[in-house]
């Protein structure tokens, strides 16, 4: 799992590459602890290269979303595949996030 974080113009872009499975999520959640500070602004979670997400991955997404909600920022999920979109749909996450292609 590869995580690339870019901050530009007050927008934090988090690029997730590969499988966000349970062991990966453990690492990613640590990596993204800093990103939570930017939750007041806009966080873009770029999933266009993410193949897979487990419930622990979803939990990271939800944690960020809650932080943004608390700080008045927003979280944009970008480029999810149809399969992952399906998982988002099953879990009701489609309603929680702003989804962009």
């Amino acid at each position: 799992m590869e995580v690339n974080i870019n901050k530009k113009d007050g927008i934090t872009i988090v690029e997730l590459v590969g499988r966000l499975d349970t062991p990966a999520s453990l690492e990613v959640s640590k990596t993204l602890e800093g990103v939570q500070d930017d939750a007041g602004g806009t966080i873009v979670l770029d999933c266009s290269k993410m193949d897979y997400i487990s419930s622990s991955g979803l939990r990271i997404f939800l944690t960020l979303r809650k932080a943004a909600a608390a700080k008045g920022g927003k979280v944009i999920v970008k480029g999810i595949s149809n399969d992952i979109r399906n998982v988002f749909m099953m879990t009701g996450f489609l309603n929680l996030f702003q989804i962009e292609d």
Partner: protein, 731 residues
């Protein structure tokens, strides 16, 4: 039927004979009682009649004697006076007059001298008498040639016998046709010579009344005869003083009857007699009046004495007859009832036995010889019905058609003949419908419809039908309210079943069919609740836990059967079995199943091993030909399930294994995840509510939610020291 009829006849005959005997005994007893009673009553009545008659006779006699005595006394008291008067015969009449004057009963008196006693009068008898209707006393002389008193009985007899003498009664023609009698007493002069007789006449008018009024019984009558047999008093007045009793008797058709009595009476005897004359029976009681030589008799018709008792006897007899008649009627009714009852009992028994036979016939068609298919190596079957005392309604059945094993188990509600009958019907329906229908759902629907239609007795059947494709191991099944069979694969677990409704409850019910794949050495245990509800003496139930302990996987059906039977027997002990107990083991041992692959993966409880699982799932997805999306979902579900085990099954920092078994079939994937950790049921964890907003949304609970969402069935089971999670996914 013939035997029964003849038994009935024999019974009828015997009953009739017994009844007849009873009636006869009752009749004899009644009759004997009647006779004895009658005899004693008659005796008593006879004694009473005799006593009454005798006391009447005695009373009447006393009255007569009382009157007669007055005359005797008056005469005897005047004897000395007459002796003195003999000195001057002209004064003799004064003595007679005195007697008449002083004694009202005496109507006339005379002193009649022996002819020649007085020189002056060769015959001398001055007669003083009280003429009827006059107050004064008249005097006349009896010394007339026409009368010739020395020839009269009253003059001769006392002189002959030298004592007082009562004459034969006579009608006093001169004195007004009065019945009279005379008492005469010999008179001697002072020198001891016979001088004549002193007499006193008394009227016997009162005698007729006295004797005539003797009424012992209303229709009894009395008679008085003189010593010569002259009839003095008699109801037939024409006979009085005109005939003697002897003359009357001589005129009778049968003289013998009365003559004996008459002789006794004339002889002055006392007694009684029963006289049959013509058709009349008369009781005669007689007694003499010794002083006058009369004999008085009372005649009582037999009917008068015994009339009441005869009437009573007749009434008693009628009552007896009535009683006997009633006895006969009651006996008859009893017999008829008994016959009816016997007939009913008989019919009930016959029906019961016939129904029993019917159910036995049905049961006999059920395969009972094991192994049922000795030539088949892929099936190991064992079944048993342990019947309770009462006929029950359990059934099982199985047969092979078109390489499919069609099997069922059922339990009819209720017990006894109705249940066994319904069982027979159910079994026959099962065979008929399943003969050309291979969908369990359609079989049950048809069976249910036809059973509900005619189900007036509201009996229902819990039923389970399975159709196992022996070529593929694919089992289609449908349940109708029966308890879930136990699936014996690597683990033991109840087969997931839709409860649906028992057969016969609701016509048109839509049964849901289910399916599962069996693999080599898998088995199914079907049973009725007679097993789990078997009670021991302290009314504990055998229960599913005990059953579960006894059942084991990978064992032959025979061994299973022996083990479970033994366990139940041991548990129940001496308690009576209250319900049928039916068990069926279906053990599947195919040599090879096409179209099926198994994959196995064992992981340590380390989260870092998850990628291995992903690889494993990838392979399976490939083999099953899943598209990318499905593969990802499958991966997701497996990862969530396995992660759960890795994270929570074992205490932290202890090493443990997670076993993942996958079975890949053409249309289904099955996963069995087991571990030896602490009991942990992931399906019991709270699920995430995916409808909530950001703030309310919980972080956890998504894992099991996803598993459920993705898989078609998820079941947890704790088996021994293992947690087992079964998951299937239809593809």
């Amino acid at each position: 039927m013939k035997l029964k009829d003849s038994v009935n006849k024999v019974f009828l005959k015997q009953s009739a004979r017994a009844g007849l005997l009873l009636v006869i005994v009752a009749a004899i007893t009644l009759e004997a009682t009647g006779i004895v009673q009658y005899y004693f009553s008659q005796k008593g009545i006879k004694e009473e009649a005799t006593r009454r008659a005798e006391s009447q006779l005695e009373a009447t006699k006393l009255k007569i004697v009382n009157i007669v005595d007055q005359a005797e006394v008056a005469v005897r008291n005047s004897i000395w006076l007459a002796q003195w008067a003999l000195e001057t015969p002209d004064s003799l009449y004064a003595v007679s007059r005195r007697i008449v004057e002083n004694n009202p009963v005496i109507v006339g008196s005379t002193i009649a001298l022996v002819p020649g006693y007085d020189k002056k009068h060769p015959l001398y008898s001055p007669y003083c008498f009280q003429a009827p209707g006059e107050t004064g006393i008249r005097v006349s002389s009896l010394a007339t040639d026409e009368y010739n008193y020395p020839a009269q009985e009253w003059f001769i007899k006392p002189l002959e016998e030298q004592c007082g003498y009562w004459s034969e009664p006579y009608i006093d023609v001169g004195g007004g046709d009065i019945l009279m009698t005379t008492y005469s007493y010999p008179l001697r002069d002072r020198y001891g010579r016979i001088a004549g007789v002193l007499t006193a006449d008394i009227s016997l008018d009162w005698l007729t009344d006295l004797v005539g009024n003797v009424q012992v019984y209303p229709n009894a009558y009395s008679m008085m005869i003189s010593r010569s047999g002259q009839i003095m008093v008699c109801p037939a007045e024409s006979l009085v003083m005109r005939r003697t009793a002897q003359e009357v008797i001589a005129d009778m058709d049968d003289t013998s009857a009365f003559s004996g009595v008459n002789r006794s009476m004339l002889a002055g005897e006392r007694g009684s007699a029963v006289i049959r004359y013509n058709k009349d029976v008369t009781h005669i009681f007689y007694a003499p009046v010794e002083k006058t030589g009369w004999s008085m008799s009372i005649m009582v018709p037999d009917s008068e004495i015994y009339g009441n008792i005869r009437r009573m006897g007749l009434i008693v007899k009628l009552l007896q007859l009535l009683g006997l008649l009633m006895l006969i009627l009651i006996l008859r009714a009893l017999m008829v009832n008994q016959l009816k009852f016997m007939d009913l009992n008989d019919r009930k028994e016959r029906i019961e036995s016939e129904l029993h036979i019917a159910s036995e016939i049905q049961m006999s068609m059920i395969p009972k010889i094991f192994p049922p298919f000795p030539e088949r190596k892929d099936l190991d079957l064992s079944a048993a019905i342990v019947p309770a005392k009462e006929v029950g309604g359990d059934l099982y059945d199985f047969y092979i058609r078109d390489e499919k094993l069609i099997f069922c188990i059922g339990d009819v509600s209720g017990k006894g003949v109705p249940a066994s009958l319904v069982m027979a019907v159910t079994r026959s329906l099962f065979r008929t419908v399943s003969a050309h229908e291979s969908s369990p759902q359609r079989i049950l629907t048809t069976m249910n419809d036809s059973m509900s239609e005619v189900n007036e007795s509201n009996m229902f059947v819990t039923f389970f039908i399975g159709i196992l494709d022996l070529a593929t191991g694919h089992l289609k099944y449908c349940n109708a309210g029966h308890n879930a069979p136990i699936l014996l694969t690597d683990a033991k677990r109840p087969l997931p079943v839709e409860a649906n409704l028992p057969l016969g409850v609701m016509p048109g019910f839509n049964f849901k069919e289910q399916e599962i794949d069996l693999h080599y050495d898998d088995a199914m245990f079907l049973y009725t609740d007679g097993l789990t509800e078997a009670e021991n003496l302290s009314h504990e139930l055998f229960g599913e836990k005990r059953m579960d302990k006894v059942l084991s996987t990978r064992r032959s059906s025979d061994d299973q059967m022996v083990a479970i039977k033994e366990a139940v027997r041991e548990f129940v002990g001496d308690a009576p079995q209250s319900d049928d107990m039916t068990m069926l083991f279906v053990h599947f041992l195919p040599e090879s199943l096409p179209d099926q692959k198994e994959r196995h993966l064992i992981l340590h409880n380390d989260i870092q091993q998850i990628p291995q699982l992903a690889e494993f799932v990838e392979t399976i997805a490939d083999e099953a030909g899943l598209d990318q999306g499905c593969a990802m979902n499958l991966n997701l579900a497996l990862e969530e399930a396995v992660t759960n085990v890795i994270m929570y099954a074992y205490p932290p920092k202890t090493d443990g294994l997670v076993d993942i078994e996958a079975i890949i079939r053409s249309n289904q994937l099955e996963f069995i995840i087991s571990d030896s950790g602490t009991p942990f049921d992931p399906t019991a964890a709270p699920e995430a509510d995916t409808t909530l907003g950001v703030e309310e949304r919980q972080i956890g609970g998504l894992g099991i939610f996803l598993v459920r969402k993705i898989m078609d069935s998820v079941e947890y089971k704790r088996d021994g020291d293992k947690n087992i999670l079964f998951m299937t996914k239809t593809i």
